[in-house]
């Protein structure tokens, strides 16, 4: 597929790298030649220097025969205009744009063919905030991801030393979860994938990936981890866009405090937010944290745009007694560094955003994609179309499917009903199939499986 990516920032850059490895034809456009040079050194892609919304620049990037334009520059307006031009002048079929300002998103009928022809709007801030909210709602989970409009969740759990499951066999989990609408789809030990066999004994530090109906998801985390109380008190450090959005999402259900360094920003935050307590100060100020009872805080989220400040304030909060710390970290190299124990959860905004973009880049009718384990694994929600003749999945039992060995089907959403996958389950047309793929390199095989053959009209 021929894809033009506008803007080589953090999201644009990592998307380009990730897609280039999948043998797509990528052109990256940015006004800064240095950034482009750096990326070109690491991956096989074409780069164009220039202003992203100028028609000549787009033409030079090959907009004439591109399948897709992904506008990810820092400016909402540039992104919108670029999509408009791609549509009007080059008839690009799929246009994706990052639009941050919620004001644009509040009005229906703005992003339609006649007005602003953008097919998919992406707001990284919103995605990251929702991602963090999911994590806070499920204490004990490493990752919580939504499928089928939130009806199904993928939950990743690392067993801690005090879990009652330690030393038990995998079959014990299945016994415990018989009526919980859930499925164990993958298991890692020391970063290595294990095949799920009934008699494997569980050890501390094992990472388990479950797929479950949303209504039951909370039971699973509490059952497996046992010890974690539900989260009540949250401190957010950094009142930027993500911090503000997260506070707005959380404040009806949690007791939220938000620390912002800038006095003017703190004042305006206090005017926007309803119940959140806005504190002005440095998130790494020990006295401030002590004064606000950091030792009884359930979750501390460091969400400033400074990786180092996030890591340090999270470490401080952890030492002062915060039960769980999360930190927004942009640099991939830092993520591996801190996840070894200093910080409970490192959140990579690129990973979260790329998942949302991948869904539109995958072939076949793929509704949602989440990038997992630093991009090595993927969870995919695909729709089965056609009939027994034209499709390779419809009308077949799950164990008959020619899935790669590293892939497993977790659940199926039929109409509004969530069905947990069993080997004998037969897939029907229009089913949403949720697949965990441990090895991303096999993604083409999965895509091919869900593509309807040419005879299907």
């Amino acid at each position: 597929m021929k894809i033009i990516i506008l803007g080589a920032g953090q999201v644009g850059g990592s998307l380009a790298l990730s897609l280039a490895n999948e043998s797509n034809d990528i052109t990256l456009v940015d006004s800064d030649p240095k950034v482009l040079q750096e990326i070109q050194d690491r991956a096989d892609l074409q780069t164009v220097v220039g202003h992203a919304s100028h028609p000549t620049v787009l033409a030079q990037a090959g907009a004439m025969d591109a399948n897709m334009v992904v506008a990810l520059t820092n400016s909402d307006e540039t992104n919108m205009v670029a999509c408009q031009i791609a549509y009007t002048l080059f008839h690009t079929p799929t246009k994706i744009a990052r639009v941050r300002a919620t004001d644009y998103l509040d009005y229906d009928g703005l992003f339609v063919q006649e007005a602003l022809p953008i097919d998919v709007l992406i707001s990284p801030e919103y995605l990251v905030s929702k991602y963090i909210e999911n994590l806070i709602e499920h204490p004990g989970a490493l990752q919580v991801l939504n499928f089928a409009d939130g009806k199904v969740k993928l939950i990743a759990i690392a067993l801690h030393a005090k879990s009652m499951l330690i030393g038990k066999k995998v079959s014990a989990i299945f016994d415990d979860m018989k009526d919980m609408d859930t499925n164990l789809v993958a298991m890692y030990r020391h970063q290595q994938l294990l095949t799920i066999e009934q008699d494997v004994e569980l050890e501390a530090g094992d990472e388990l990936f479950f797929i479950a109906a949303s209504s039951k998801a909370k039971n699973i985390t509490t059952m497996l981890q046992g010890l974690d109380k539900p989260n009540r008190r949250v401190i957010i450090a950094g009142g930027g866009n993500i911090g503000l959005l997260l506070a707005q999402i959380l404040e009806p259900h949690y007791r939220v405090k938000l620390i912002e360094r800038d006095a003017g920003r703190a004042k305006s935050l206090s005017e926007i937010l309803e119940k959140t307590i806005v504190l002005q100060g440095d998130a790494a100020d020990e006295n401030l944290l002590m004064e606000e009872n950091i030792d009884s805080v359930d979750v501390f989220c460091a969400l400033t745009n400074d990786d180092e400040a996030n890591i340090l304030s999270s470490m401080l909060a952890k030492r002062l007694g915060a039960r769980k710390t999360m930190s927004l970290i942009n640099r991939p190299s830092y993520i591996e560094l801190v996840e070894s124990g200093m910080i409970d959860t490192a959140i990579s905004p690129q990973q979260v955003t790329i998942g949302a973009l991948l869904a539109h880049i995958r072939r076949g009718d793929v509704v949602a994609v989440h990038s997992l384990r630093k991009g090595y694994a993927e969870a995919i929600e695909a729709v089965a179309h056609g009939d027994h003749r034209t499709s390779k999945v419809v009308g077949r039992k799950i164990h008959e499917l020619k899935l790669p060995t590293s892939a497993g089907i977790g659940a199926i959403v039929r109409a509004d009903e969530v069905i947990i996958a069993t080997p004998e389950l037969i897939i029907e047309p229009e089913d949403h199939v949720i697949i965990y793929l441990a090895d991303k390199n096999k993604v083409r095989e999965v895509e091919r499986l869900f593509q309807v053959s040419a005879t299907f009209i």
């Binding site: 004042k267 935050l269 206090s270 005017e271 307590i277 806005v278 504190l279 002005q280 401030l288 004064e291």
Partner: protein, 485 residues
């Protein structure tokens, strides 16, 4: 300051005001009351001629008004009209009132206070009674414009809050013609409420004369009646409920009525923080007083009648109307004192009600909460909000200033009355009842103010004006800064 322009406007005001005496003359002719017709007609001529003499020499002085002119005109409106409005009382032989008493009655009418020095109302000429009621109604009209359009513009006591919502002018301190548009819309609402109220009273069993007269004093939140017994005279629960409904409506912000009318949507009422608070205060007070009344077994009769009496009294005093349907001053002491305290809160801003206004109390309450929260979180920022909108600190400062001025004025006036030899209960309630534009007090002034000394009457006249002009509007005239060019 542009004295000639102000004089011209004052002249025009007096001429218009003189015309409003004519309906009373008509009533006098209809009932064949030669004495009061004479006094009203003479007052009409005197006012008209004075107005003409003020207006004619300066009629060509046309220029835009400035902020300071606004203050002077507002103050003159109430003082000068109060003075000229007293002429019919002074001249009438049936009343035989002195100058102080006439002035007191006139100012009490125009400021919609409802405190009276007249006794034996039932035997007075109809034309005088009608004139009295109409005086309140006209005062109410002036108050609506004052409260909704002018005070927000002058920014008195935190009322700049309403500046954004009123279609009134803001920029470069000029009174632009848009104020007339606002005033017109508000008067339509005022007039329709009055007509509705009069019809309801009539249907509930009043005579035509009583229905019209009482609708005037109800919508104006005044409290004058044509009977010594006030609303108790009618002894009708239906009439009391009609009064409750219309007092409640008149005690709400007319700007809010305007909004509801323009959007044709009732939920706007409930979305307004001040209106919600206003209803809650009145509801809570009714419940408290009802339980005290039940506990002491004060009232007899069926429960519904008792509820009616209590709710009527709470709404009447709470909105600072001052109607009475029972002599509440002899109820267990807790109740009259609570009711007088309630009148300090008063109606909503932008209504015909008096007191300090619900919105200010709401802001002070929220500000108090904010101080408490700040003690717990010294580093936190908290915003005081109305609805979802943050309130500027400047507004809250102004409200604090207003509260302290209100208390200060109250104490000074209380001491002055005590010095003149009035007992403490009477003095306290009389000052509260006039400063809050309520009307009836306790003790000696429970029914009327005829028995207190002349000095106190002057003080109370000043109190009514101060209360009506939200204190600062009047005080600012007495500051040297104001007169400096």
């Amino acid at each position: 300051m542009q004295p000639f322009v102000i004089l011209r406007i004052l002249g025009q005001l007096l001429m218009i005001f003189s015309i409003t005496m004519l309906p009373a003359v008509g009533v006098g002719l209809f009932y064949n009351e030669s004495d009061s017709v004479d006094s009203l007609a003479m007052a009409f001529l005197a006012t008209l001629i004075t107005g003409f003499l003020l207006w004619y020499p300066f009629r060509n002085y046309q220029s835009d008004l400035r902020l300071r002119d606004g203050f002077v005109i507002v103050v003159l409106f109430w003082t000068v009209l109060g003075l000229f409005g007293s002429i019919p009382f002074f001249l009438s032989n049936a009343l035989a009132l002195g100058f102080v008493d006439s002035l007191f009655e006139s100012i009490s009418g125009l400021t919609t206070t409802g405190a009276t020095v007249l006794t034996q109302l039932d035997h007075l000429p109809y034309s005088i009674l009608f004139y009295r009621q109409q005086l309140q109604w006209l005062g109410g009209m002036g108050i609506i414009v004052l409260a909704v359009a002018i005070l927000p513009m002058l920014g008195v006591g935190g009322m700049q809050l309403y500046r954004a919502e009123t279609p009134g002018p803001v920029k470069d301190n000029k009174l632009t013609p848009r104020i007339t548009e606002t005033a017109k819309a508000l008067w339509y609402i005022y007039l329709s409420l009055t007509i509705l109220c009069a019809l309801s009273y009539w249907l509930a069993g009043m005579t035509v004369f009583d229905a019209i007269s009482h609708s005037f004093s109800t919508i104006a939140i005044g409290g004058f009646s044509t009977h010594d017994l006030n609303l108790q005279y009618f002894d009708s629960r239906i009439i009391e409920w009609v009064a409750i409904v219309f007092m409640l409506l008149s005690g709400a912000n007319f700007g809010l009525h305007f909004l509801v009318w323009r959007h044709r949507s009732l939920p706007h009422y409930w979305r307004d923080d001040e209106f919600r608070m206003y209803c809650l205060i009145l509801l809570a007070s009714s419940i408290i007083i009802l339980s005290v009344v039940k506990f002491h077994d004060t009232l007899s009769g069926p429960l519904f009648d008792q509820i009616t009496t209590v709710v009527f009294q709470v709404v009447s005093i709470g909105t600072t109307t001052g109607f009475t349907s029972d002599d509440f001053s002899v109820w267990p002491t807790f109740i009259p004192v609570l009711l007088i305290m309630l009148s300090f809160i008063g109606g909503c801003a932008g209504s015909t009600g008096g007191g300090m206004k619900v919105i200010r109390m709401l802001l002070l309450f929220k500000q108090g909460l904010r101080e408490l929260k700040r003690l717990v979180h010294p580093n936190a920022h908290f915003a005081v909000k109305l609805g979802k909108k943050p309130v500027d600190n400047r507004v809250i400062e102004a409200v604090w200033g207003f509260l302290s001025a209100y208390i200060g004025i109250f104490i000074i006036m209380l001491l002055m009355l005590l010095a003149s030899g009035i007992d403490q209960v009477t003095a306290f309630s009389a000052v509260a009842a006039t400063l809050n534009n309520l009307g009836p007090g306790l003790g000696e002034v429970a029914n009327n103010y005829s028995d207190i000394n002349a000095f106190s009457k002057y003080v109370l006249c000043l109190g009514m004006l101060l209360g009506r002009l939200e204190i600062f509007t009047l005080l600012v005239i007495f500051t040297p800064v104001f007169w400096r060019r």
